[in-house]
């Protein structure tokens, strides 16, 4: 995975380098051409100057003298006759540098005292190595400056121009449909980003609406079910007053009571789940964990004793937490009932409090539970125990709501649910 900016930069760098590489020979050629042209012009001027100014005064006896004083111009006899000036390139030894240097030479036919002579004028040409070195130097410098410039500009662009994009990304990253951020993504002056934000806003709006519709539906459905369940249960209570019953009838009534209780609990749990997020548990109190654990357990002690399940408390010194007592009791109720329901006769439950970490562990028939989906609704692993598959979902929803940590662990044939009331402890 690469960042968009490094991709852009890569292409820009490749393009710049290729462009510079290809253009370098052209540049070299052009430079050579211009320089040679300039040299030719200078030589032509000099030759014209010589012809018009010097030649009229020059006599054949002065030629040797003149040649000595002018190093770059020489008059000599022609090797073969010619009638037009012409240029030619040659290498000559430069006495100062002891190197062969390229020279441009202009041969001009002249007449001195009626005799045919040749004026040879030379001008040093740009040395190829020097030229290439210079060009390479310039181009390297250019490339470095270009890349550095591109890098800086791109980085700045990505910081400034792409900022709204990163803001949007962070917004989506932190979005939680259960606790939606009420402010929307802003309108932006850049068309693409604005489209992105609008698309995300409408996506979120649609999803939130259907999420809350579903939630409202569950809540309404559960509310509407309360009354028929109440009718069902009350008719059973009335029926119970009219014995005698056969054993079969009695068994039927008893099983209807069980069904009514399960229905009622299922409905209550659905309502609770639907309402945890929406409810504001404003009333935050300082709760003594030891006291809460023991008083909540007292509602379960009969049930545990009936199943001959032993309970052991391992409590620390008085630990206080800030929480809403109702939601906290709901959490404990679900953890405790879970520990009893999935236990076996003569099993045990351990309730351990270490600092702000509560662990409820129990023996159970079931082997280690898969972590996947454990806290999802209606995930049941054991068909024998009559849970409704909502208890752990409620536990998870409460922990999420209160920002407590929750995890499951399995050691020594014991299932443990560990709740951390200080977020960082887990």
């Amino acid at each position: 995975m690469k960042r968009l900016i490094s991709r852009t930069m890569f292409y820009q760098a490749v393009f710049s380098s290729v462009l510079l590489l290809i253009s370098a020979p052209f540049f070299y050629g052009l430079m050579q051409y211009i320089y040679r042209h300039q040299t030719d012009e200078t030589l032509t001027h000099r030759s014209q100057y010589f012809v018009s100014n010097t030649l009229p005064h020059l006599q054949s006896s002065n030629i040797a003298e003149w040649n000595r004083t002018n190093s770059d111009q020489r008059i000599s006899l022609p090797e073969r006759p010619f009638y037009r000036p012409f240029f030619c390139d040659t290498f000559m030894i430069d006495s100062a540098e002891m190197e062969t240097e390229p020279y441009r030479i202009l041969y001009t036919p002249i007449r001195i005292d009626g005799e045919q002579y040749v004026l040879r004028q030379r001008l040093s040409l740009l040395e190829r190595e020097d030229a290439i070195r210079g060009i390479v130097g310039i181009y390297m410098g250019l490339l470095v400056c270009l890349l550095a410039g591109l890098y800086l500009i791109n980085r700045r662009i990505s910081k400034i121009l792409w900022k709204p994009f990163y803001d949007t990304l962070a917004y989506i990253g932190h979005f939680d449909i259960e606790q939606p951020d009420l402010h929307k993504l802003p309108d932006l002056p850049i068309i693409e980003f604005n489209q992105l934000n609008q698309a995300i806003n409408s996506l979120i709006a649609k999803n939130s609406r259907s999420y809350f519709n579903e939630k409202e539906f569950v809540e309404n459905a559960a509310h509407e079910l309360q009354t028929p369940i109440a009718v069902f249960q009350s008719r059973l209570d009335v029926l119970l007053q009219k014995p005698p019953f056969t054993n079969e009838q009695a068994a039927t009534i008893q099983s209807l009571y069980v069904a009514a209780a399960r229905l009622s609990r299922l409905n209550k749990n659905l309502l609770t789940l639907a309402k945890i997020d929406a409810t504001n548990y404003h009333d935050i109190q300082q709760l003594n964990l030891n006291e809460c654990l023991q008083s909540t357990w007292s509602n379960f002690s009969d049930q545990a004793e009936n199943e001959r399940i032993k309970v052991a408390f391992f409590l620390a010194d008085d630990t206080m937490i800030s929480a809403n007592p109702d939601i906290f009791e709901l959490l404990l109720n679900n953890l405790f009932s879970n520990a009893i329901r999935h236990n076996y006769s003569n099993g045990s439950i351990e309730i351990t409090l270490k600092g702000k970490v509560l662990e409820v562990s129990n023996t159970a028939i079931a082997p280690e539970l898969p972590a996947e989906g454990l806290f999802h609704r209606f995930t049941t692993f054991n068909t024998q125990t009559k849970g409704n598959g909502l208890g752990l979902a409620i536990v998870a929803a409460i922990c999420k709501k209160c920002r407590w940590g929750i995890r499951y662990s399995y050691r020594n044939f014991r299932h443990s649910f560990i709740v951390s009331f200080a977020e960082t402890d887990l």
């Binding site: 509310h223 509407e224 309360q226 009354t227 369940i229 109440a230 009718v231 069902f232 249960q233 009350s234 008719r235 059973l236 209570d237 009335v238 119970l240 007053q241 014995p243 019953f245 054993n247 009695a250 009534i253 008893q254 009571y257 069980v258 009514a260 209780a261 399960r262 009622s264 609990r265 209550k268 309502l271 309402k275 409810t279 509602n299 379960f300 009969d302 049930q303 004793e305 009936n306 199943e307 109702d326 109720n333 405790f336 009932s337 009893i340 329901r341 009559k386 208890g391």
Partner: protein, 224 residues
């Protein structure tokens, strides 16, 4: 004792009426807000059971009417909504108790009994039932002036059964009364039997007749 049941679900109203008629109450049923208001204006009741969501108006508004008319009746709200705010607002408006649907008739009956007792016989804190005397303040029980030592749960059970005299309370109703909201987390309520057994033993040791009858293992009844 006169009872008004304001409940739009006629089957439920009928069950409640069946329950209280059997215990000697005179029950009247109103199924709408208007009907309820009319009955409240015209007659005196000892206790009014109010559903919150009624055709034609809210039970809470009806409760405000009852209080503004200075009616002495005890009021118990029966609602499908168990949100805490509803409960608090109902009690603030002047309800004496609040019960969430679904409920057991014996629980309702015990609440009604308690509300009427508080309203009518404010100074009396001792219930005399057959040879048993229950002191509600001291939470003590005497049989033929002999003190019977009961656990808290046994005491609650006895009071509940006596409040529901001659009415069979189901095992789940008793379990819910003892363990509160957590009872219906389990389908097995056999532990109620253990408490009943201990209570019966302690009462009979004190010389009390066997008033607690078991009905097919499904429920218990205080019979006089």
């Amino acid at each position: 004792m006169k009872l008004l049941i304001v409940e739009d679900e006629s089957m439920l109203a009928q069950s409640i009426s069946d329950c209280f008629s059997g215990e000697g109450y005179i029950c009247e049923i109103a199924v709408t807000y208007a009907e309820g208001l009319e009955k409240i204006m015209q007659y005196e009741y000892d206790c009014i059971l109010l559903d919150v969501m009624l055709p034609g108006g809210s039970g809470i508004t009806l409760l405000e009417e009852i209080r503004s008319l200075q009616k002495p009746a005890g009021v118990i709200i029966i609602s499908a909504r168990n949100a805490l705010e509803d409960k608090v607002s109902g009690l603030k408006t002047g309800a004496d108790d609040y019960l969430t649907k679904p409920f057991h008739l014996s629980e309702l009956s015990a609440r009604v009994y308690s509300v009427i007792r508080r309203k009518k016989f404010e100074s009396v804190n001792v219930i005399k039932e057959a040879e048993v005397e229950i002191d509600l303040l001291a939470k003590t029980v005497h049989v033929h002036d002999r003190h019977v030592v009961l656990t808290k749960k046994e005491f609650d059970l006895l009071l509940f059964l006596v409040s529901n005299r001659n009415w069979v309370s189901s095992k789940s109703a008793l379990a819910e009364h003892l363990s509160g909201d957590t009872a219906d987390m389990f389908s097995n309520h056999d532990y109620v039997y253990a408490h009943i057994k201990n209570l019966k033993r302690k009462l009979s040791e004190a010389g009390c007749a066997d008033h607690i009858k078991t009905v097919y293992g499904m429920g218990y009844k205080w019979e006089t």
